[in-house]
């Protein structure tokens, strides 16, 4: 079956430092990978969408300078939170899709980021 792993599951960083998180798709080729953030008491905000053979598209309020993403192949993606501050805390989810068009996104368990 389709599985998505994320690493680390939980991390703590000091304010102003950076944190890199990884997403691995197993059992399928992730044509696209979306990164979301679920801040405390909020829904999932799409940060950016990375699709094979297309440029990474960032949503409003999120930038490449703050959340650089790498998607080197169809099974792996990483995102870094640069210069993290309190408002960056939350659960970061990776959603990977297979196939074309409007396909189901399979979510990883998330990386929970705490900022001190």
């Amino acid at each position: 079956g389709a599985l998505v792993y994320q690493y680390p599951r939980r991390t703590i960083c000091k304010s102003g430092t950076s944190m890199r998180m990884e997403c691995q798709a197993v059992g399928f080729q992730a044509t696209s990978v979306a990164w979301y953030r679920q801040s405390p008491q909020k829904t999932f905000e799409l940060i950016a969408l990375s699709t094979v053979n297309s440029a990474i598209k960032y949503e409003q309020n999120f930038t490449q300078e703050k959340f650089p993403i790498s998607h080197p192949n169809l099974s792996f993606s990483s995102m870094t939170v640069l210069n993290a501050y309190l408002e960056d805390r939350g659960l970061y989810l990776c959603g990977a899709s297979v196939g074309q068009g409007q396909d189901t996104q399979y979510f990883g368990p998330g990386t929970r980021l705490l900022v001190l």
């Binding site: 829904t43 999932f44 409007q102 189901t104 979510f107 990883g108």
Partner: protein
Amino acid sequence: GDSVTQTEGLVTLTEGLPVMLNCTYQTIYSNPFLFWYVQHLNESPRLLLKSFTDNKRTEHQGFHATLHKSSSSFHLQKSSAQLSDSALYYCALSGDTNAYKVIFGKGTHLHVLP
């Protein structure tokens, strides 16, 4: 832009009673996919249902939903709530066939009491 509205932030009911969680959406696309995801405490969201076909009932694990394009709705229902159904439920929309982009509603917390 696309949006998903879930009017109830919290639904509390007694075990055995029927469940209905509301979801309406707005999209410029004529053939959207609608999803229901369930998220239990400290877990990631898991797909519960999805639908693409107008007026067709979709069922899974006792839950069902029917996409009604005429009213832009995709309400989640279950005939009899169980304690284990307590969780956060997110209605979500994917409208752009080329973007793989999923828009989530704010979520409804279902709390089932014994």
